[in-house]
Symmetry: C2
Subunit: 120 residues, 2 copies
């Protein structure tokens, strides 16, 4: 029996009690995504954000090492964020301070999932 | 105590034993994403795919109802897919036949996560 390894680390973040202005700030969220990518040492391929009417923002940063996504509900103070990275040199936990600093959640839940489990 | 509801349905798909040619087919994966969006009745904002060298494809479909993402390892026959939708009229399970038909996994695991749980 070999060692269990995984190809990807996927953090599922549930943020409540966020700054509702930040949750509806498309440019701010785009900057947060780019800063989060840098913070965890990943390589950005492209970032796409979209503002909904009357409120809410969706954003995805496509990485050489998978992706970071965010979907916001400013009226509820809620954001659903995924930080999914692969490779040894990238640590998705390093994106968390950037995200917390911008969105200021009062309640922050992390579900840590390993993707692509393999026996080495 | 009210009824527990959720804002989003997030299917985490672990596919092994896929068709390795399909896993490395950027155009085919882009078409699969668009077909999967249609199949689950979602609205496409944009789709972005990227081909890695020597192998592997990443793709993200940004939706009015969240996102669908895929990251592939053709050399391992593996794909990590997320189908995350919000709203009552969209059913992420409806994307699965399109995905299975294109990638032909021999092993298909689904982790079903509810996002944004609220007491109504």
């Amino acid at each position: 029996m070999g060692l269990l390894k995984h190809l990807g680390k996927h953090l599922i973040l549930e943020l409540w009690g966020c700054d509702s202005k930040a949750l509806d700030d498309q440019k701010g969220i785009e900057k947060m995504l780019i800063d989060a990518v840098k913070a965890c040492g990943a390589t950005l391929i492209c970032v796409k954000t979209h503002k909904f009417s009357p409120q809410g923002v969706t954003g995805v940063a496509v990485l050489a090492e998978s992706h970071i996504s965010i979907h916001t509900w400013p009226e509820l103070g809620y954001a659903a964020i995924d930080v999914f990275t692969c490779g040894e040199h990238v640590n998705p936990e390093d994106a968390l301070p950037t995200i917390k600093s911008f969105l200021k959640p009062s309640n922050f839940e992390v579900i840590d999932i390993k993707r692509g489990n393999i026996v080495d």
